[in-house]
Amino acid sequence: MVTKLRRFSRKKGLKIFSFALTVFLLVSAIIQTYYIFYASNLNIESLFVKDYVESDGFRYGEITPAINDVLNKITVGKKLDYIPKYFYYYTDGEKYYNNITLSEIIKLKYHYEYDGEIWFPKEKPDDYNSSDKNDSDYLEAYYLVGSDHIYDISHNEAQDGEMKNYTLYIGFSEEHMQQKQQEWNSDRSEVLSKVKLLVLSLVMSLICIIHLITVTGRNPEDDKVHLTPYMDRIYTDIQFLLIILTLVIWFGGINNQMNYTSDPSDVLSMDQIVMMIYLGILSGIALIICGVLFLSMVRKLKARKLLKHSLMYAIGSGINKYIRSLFDIKRFENYPLTDSLNRRQIIFTVASGLLVFLFTIFSLLSTILWIFPLMLEAVVIYWYFYENRKTFEEINLGFQESLKEQMKSERMKVDLITNVSHDLKTPLTSIISYVELLSKEELPEAARDYVNILADKSGRLKNIVSDLFDLAKSTSGNLPLNMENLDLKKLIEQTLGDMEDEIEKSNIRIKTTLTESPVYIYSDGKKLYRVFQNIIGNALKYSLQGTRIFIDMEVDNKIVNVVIKNTASYDMDFTAEEILQRFNRGDKSRTTEGSGLGLSIAESFTRACGGNFKVEIDGDQFKVKLRFTISGVVPLPEMDN
């Protein structure tokens, strides 16, 4: 049940619904707030104060204006521009001003008495007119009603005057107060209903927000945190800034527009309705943007990536890494010379930076001390270049040394091959010659057999030695090449013609698919002949009786590929790499003929001639793939006699 609920709560549709609902509720709450506070005539205070008499609305809305008006009328002679709904009685012991008798005002249920001092200008101007007098001469005085005292908060000190004690009564009629109380009550009930709705919206949106926070990043399938592809790639601090920016624009937009709307009244004006729509759209957009960004941040927080995935973190760690790499001397562990260069560079940079800093400080303080960093810097520069030059010379020396060493070893390799070749061939010549002489002697039957075996084996040894040195020369890059433009197609045909006896003897047919036209490559013909001879010879030797050898040749965009395929007569229990290793032979059990170097020589010669050589084994299929680059087509020179 719980898992079912959890799964349901994580459904994508529900998430979107919840998000939309939140936006809707919050927008409506904002519009309601605007309505209550700015568009309607409703008095919020009525929500908290039950009796009108107790309210600030009464105190500051009726009593304070009344006192102000009466006192201003008396002191500076400002006339009332309305017919007062209240009653007043003022006395300073000598004079009194009133619109009702003292006994009558005291009888009223709602009357208020104030005592205090009041300041009178010297000449009380009866013909007071603010336009032809300096305003500062006859400033209005404002009085604020405390709980039961009047505070004079502004008075004119530009003129001489006198202070007088006074007593002021302000009274309201019963009918007036009752009417006000009724209005108060109706306001109260309306505000209450509006506020209830507002609170409900807020509570519901809060629930939705909590739901969104819990389910965002979670799938119905598992409990992992899933980041949303595009949104969550924005760096956290950028997201945060975007939220702030959106809020600023939102607030600015509203504030700006609010100035142009009319004051609250009982009926909504046109511009207020427009304002509410504008407010709704603006808030909706702002809420969607902020909501999406906020939820993305929540997801990152869940995945514990909130701080790590921020631009500041990325920049910080990048700088950190860079600085570390600058001071990382591990790379130079095995190279003392470059290590010393690196160390010197670090010291030079840091010291120079420090000296420049000191120079700036001293010259800003305009002390003559700036000369010292300058001199020190000169010393540092001299030291840096002097030491570096020494190191560079050492490096050059080492480089030359290693080059010499390399050339020496190369020469030694060539000499070694030549000398070993000679040293092996000389005794072999003797062996072969004396075996020949021996075979001409009169020998018993058994001895004759032995001599034959010796002749056979010494012949084979001769082949092996010869192949071995060909291979050694080729792999060490000392194979003399005679490169020329030649027709690969012709070369293959010539090789096949040359090997015809062998092919006929083997009972294995060869099927060739060659190109129609000549294919010219730049290579060494004699070596390539050796390559094909070895490959085809190998194929003839190790093919299953009755199968065919396929030689395919095709040209593909300046490249010619030759594939020689045969079906092996034995189980090929080796890999393509193994077969090319020196001394490995296709059939491990057969050791009677050949040097076992055939394919290795073919590979090495092909590479020396500028081609590619590859062996593939596919079941019983043995494939040799050769690849050469086609040279510019050079026609065979015509020879006439």
């Binding site: 030549t418 070749s421 000679h422 061939k425 000389t426 072999l428 010549t429 003797s430 062996i431 072969i432 010659s433 004396y434 020949e436 002489l437 001409k440 001769k462 030695v465 010869s466 040195f469 003399p480 005679n482 020329e484 030649l486 027709d487 690969l488 012709k490 070369l491 045909e493 010539q494 090789t495 096949l496 013609g497 040359d498 015809e500 490559i521 290579s523 013909g525 004699k526 390539l528 002949y529 065979l636 020879m639 006699n641």
Partner: protein, 233 residues
């Protein structure tokens, strides 16, 4: 024919000894030398018809010895060497050697080469009849176009009509490389179409007849990927 005297110069005494015995079995007279100086000394006091000379020898190496000999004598020289590169062979032959045999050699092949060189040398000395207009001579090969006869080092060799024509064509243009098509069109007088194999097989047959070692031909050579030629000697 009196027995020919052969000088064998090799610093390896066993090899010199083996060659000596082989040659003696064939009825030649042999003088041995173990370095270049000895070889030169031996030549002073002996009338020698052929020299087998090892290249790598102490005191005076084979090539220098050969150059000294060539100053005064025209006798055939067969070079012996463990160096088997083409460049080494070409160097040796261009410096005046008549043949080049690489170690380890096949004793029978060496004998064949000795015989062929001697035949050529002695015949050339005997009768100088090779200047006839009907004869083409390249090295030891002598072709009589009129009589349709071919001798290699004096030995008659039998060729088929086609083989003779191919060889004649190539010998007339010694040193030039011809493709199978060109050879076919000249010899068969037909348009050539995929004739590589046919020509190659004929070339191989001819080689077997005229070369001492067909695998390392001296005269008739395949220029791989291009064609065929008779070496101009």
């Amino acid at each position: 024919m009196e027995t020919a005297k052969i000088l064998v110069a090799d610093d390896d005494k066993e090899i010199a000894g083996a060659i000596e015995k082989l040659l003696k079995m064939e009825g030649y007279e042999v003088i041995k030398a173990y370095n270049g100086m000895e070889a030169l000394d031996a030549l002073v006091s002996n009338q020698v018809q052929l020299i087998i000379l090892d290249i790598m020898m102490p005191k005076l190496d084979g090539l220098s010895t050969m150059m000294k000999i060539r100053d005064s004598k025209n006798i055939p020289i067969i070079l012996l060497s463990a160096k088997s590169e083409d460049s080494d062979k070409i160097l040796g032959l261009s410096m005046g050697a008549d043949d080049y045999v690489t170690k380890p050699f096949n004793p029978q092949e060496l004998l064949a080469r000795v015989k062929s060189q001697l035949r050529r040398y002695l015949q050339l000395g005997d009768k100088d009849s090779n200047n006839s207009a009907n004869k083409i001579v390249i090295g030891g090969i002598c072709m009589d176009v009129e009589k349709v006869e071919l001798t290699v080092d004096g030995e008659p060799v039998k060729l088929t009509a086609k083989e003779f024509k191919i060889l004649e064509f190539l010998m007339r243009n010694a040193g030039c490389v011809f493709s199978a098509e060109q050879i076919y069109e000249r010899v068969w007088q037909e348009t050539a179409y995929s004739v590589e194999n046919t020509v190659m097989v004929h070339i191989r047959r001819i080689r077997e007849k005229i070369e001492i070692n067909p695998k390392e031909p001296k005269y008739l050579k395949v220029v791989w990927g291009i064609g065929y030629k008779i070496e101009k000697i």
